[in-house]
Amino acid sequence: MTVWLERHLPKMVLAPSFIAILIFVYGFIAWTAWVSLTRSRLLPRYDIEGLIQYERLFAAPRWDTAMNNLFIFGTLFILISMALGLLLAILLDQKIRTEGAIRTIYLYPMALSMIVTGTAWKWMLNPGLGVEAMVRRWGFEDFTFDWLVNPDMAIYTVVIAGVWQSSGFVMALFLAGLRSVDEEIIKAAQVDGIPTFRIYTAIIIPSMAPIFLSAFIVLSHLAIKSFDLVIALTGGGPGNATDLPATYMYAMAFSRGDIGQAASSAMVMMAVVFAIVVPYLYSELRAKND
């Protein structure tokens, strides 16, 4: 008996966590997938009706706005964060005397809640008393910067705040990458008289491809899940102008009482995440096991 126990103890210790993951991750995904195929409204129903929820979803103008916004926000957020992160990493890589302190400053927004970030930028970007009023006070009477309340531009304020929050983190990733490039190669290039700029573009940056990939994965994951930032910054408004899939899903689940729509939009979000993450995870795990 004790021998049996001793042999199976590790499995028994792992079992509760594994069962929890099976139920609360995989079981719940299955539940959501099932309900997304039914006519559920305020209460879930379990008789499968086919793809009607998805048809409703793709016909809904609000979902259309949300997906468009995700595309605009995601593209700009990822590109700008990466470009800025790389630039900052290269600047900090030039033997800066106060590097530690500067790095701390660049990275601290990552420790903040998106709600705090959203609240801060909402205050600074409000046209009445924020940046617009400040510049007007300087004497530029016609200056307008009303993106926060302008339905066509509001999504870009989400990009501004999102980049502010995440670019320092990308900098940290890239800086670690720059420091892991083989010094011998760089020294050899320097001896050959290759200019610094060329050393970066031709040797260092190409060798950091895996870091670009992981930065891309993390940023796209952040973009798709973006919820709190929009809620705090614009509340999805003006109107529905800054809705994202996550806010659409939340509205359907908890204020509109439309469980079918909530489930189907959540499934689409998951599909988007997996389309990006699964190939990456798969290659990572395979590389590990080989």
Binding site: L9, P10, K11, V13, L14, S17, A20, I21, F24, V25, Y26, G27, I29, T32, Q94, I96, I102, T104, Y106, Y108, P109, M110, A111, L112, S113, M114, I115, V116, T119, A120, L129, G130, A133, W164, A172, L173, L178, R179, S180, E183, I186, Q190, T196, S214, H221, K225, F227, D228, A232, P245, A246, Y250, I259, A262, A266, M269, M270, V277, L281, L285
Partner: protein, 295 residues
């Protein structure tokens, strides 16, 4: 790579110019990142009158701590006017147990997966890892029902449960990746000496684990303290965590808009994680990079 000296053929003046330009750029970016914090802090110390008449970036003329007092114990969200204080303690009561439980589970799971390999252990690990990536929207609806069935809907215990369940994946990942670097001979030798599964964990592995425990605790604390999605979905009046209360105060539509109180409240909500970051930034960054470059 630590340094790329500028090209020797450049003249001294152009070298100096580039160096100055570099520092100016770095300082400008530092200003960009510090600006919002500076504006929050100064706004929180101004009276409403001064906010209306002064510039966004001006220093406060008459420093007042009234907004802070109000944010802490008097600001209104909806019908109640108790400030952030009760919600701050909600978040503490939520974060402390959730962080401890998920860290402990992660440690023991990581220990099993890395050191007591059995058939299927890698598959289980992959399954747990996969769970880290799902957008949580996909589990919100069933979780709301299950919390109701378990009779912990709208309670802090319910939120602790949710954070533990969806934190296990990450904590297991952290500890597994740490323990996998410890040679397996250690366990074998301890077994020969008659030590059992738990004895080896408590006496050998836990004492070795301080760095990864710090990384995991900081990661989990930051995640849970800053969480909004679970908080807003699974709490009710009175049990909301601080992020939800902050959002309610800022977006409360009753009465005059008190920007100074909003900013003080935002800083209060941010202080614990900021403090952790300033004190243990090294571990914070390690968690971030370990959590992102997964596997």
């Amino acid at each position: 790579m630590t340094d790329i000296p500028f090209q020797p053929r450049r003249s001294n003046t152009s070298r100096l110019f580039l160096r100055v330009l570099l520092y100016v750029l770095i300082a400008l970016f530092a200003l960009y990142y510090l600006m919002p914090l500076f504006v929050m802090l100064t706004t929180s110390l101004k009276s409403l009158e001064e906010i209306r008449t002064g510039s966004l970036i001006a220093l406060p003329r008459d420093i007042t701590f009234e907004p802070w007092q109000k944010a802490w114990s008097g600001a209104c969200s909806g019908v109640t006017c108790e400030g952030l204080r009760p919600y701050f303690w909600n978040s503490v009561l939520l974060a402390v147990p959730a962080v401890l439980i998920s860290t402990l589970l992660g440690a023991i799971n990581g220990y099993v997966i890395a050191q007591w390999r059995f058939k299927g252990a890698n598959l289980i690990f992959s399954a747990m890892l996969f769970g880290c990536f799902i957008p949580f929207q996909v589990v919100l609806l069933p979780m709301a029902r299950v919390l109701g069935i378990m009779d912990i809907a709208g309670t802090i215990s319910g939120l602790i449960f949710v954070h533990v369940v969806y934190g296990i994946g990450f904590t297991t990942l952290f500890f597994r990746n740490y323990y996998v670097t410890i040679p397996q001979e250690l366990v074998k030798a301890a077994k020969v000496d008659g030590a059992g599964f738990f004895r080896i964990f408590w006496a050998i592995f836990l004492p070795l684990s301080l760095p990864i425990i710090v990384v995991t605790v900081i990661w989990q604390f930051t995640q849970i303290w800053n969480d909004f999605l679970f908080g807003v979905s699974f709490s009710q009046a009175g049990t909301q965590p601080i992020t939800v209360a902050l959002n309610n105060i800022v977006n409360s539509t009753t009465g005059v808009k008190e920007y100074n109180v909003d900013m003080a409240a935002a800083i209060i909500a941010a202080l614990p994680t900021l403090l952790v970051y300033v004190v243990a930034g090294k571990y914070f960054i390690r968690g971030l990079t370990a959590g992102s470059v997964k596997g």
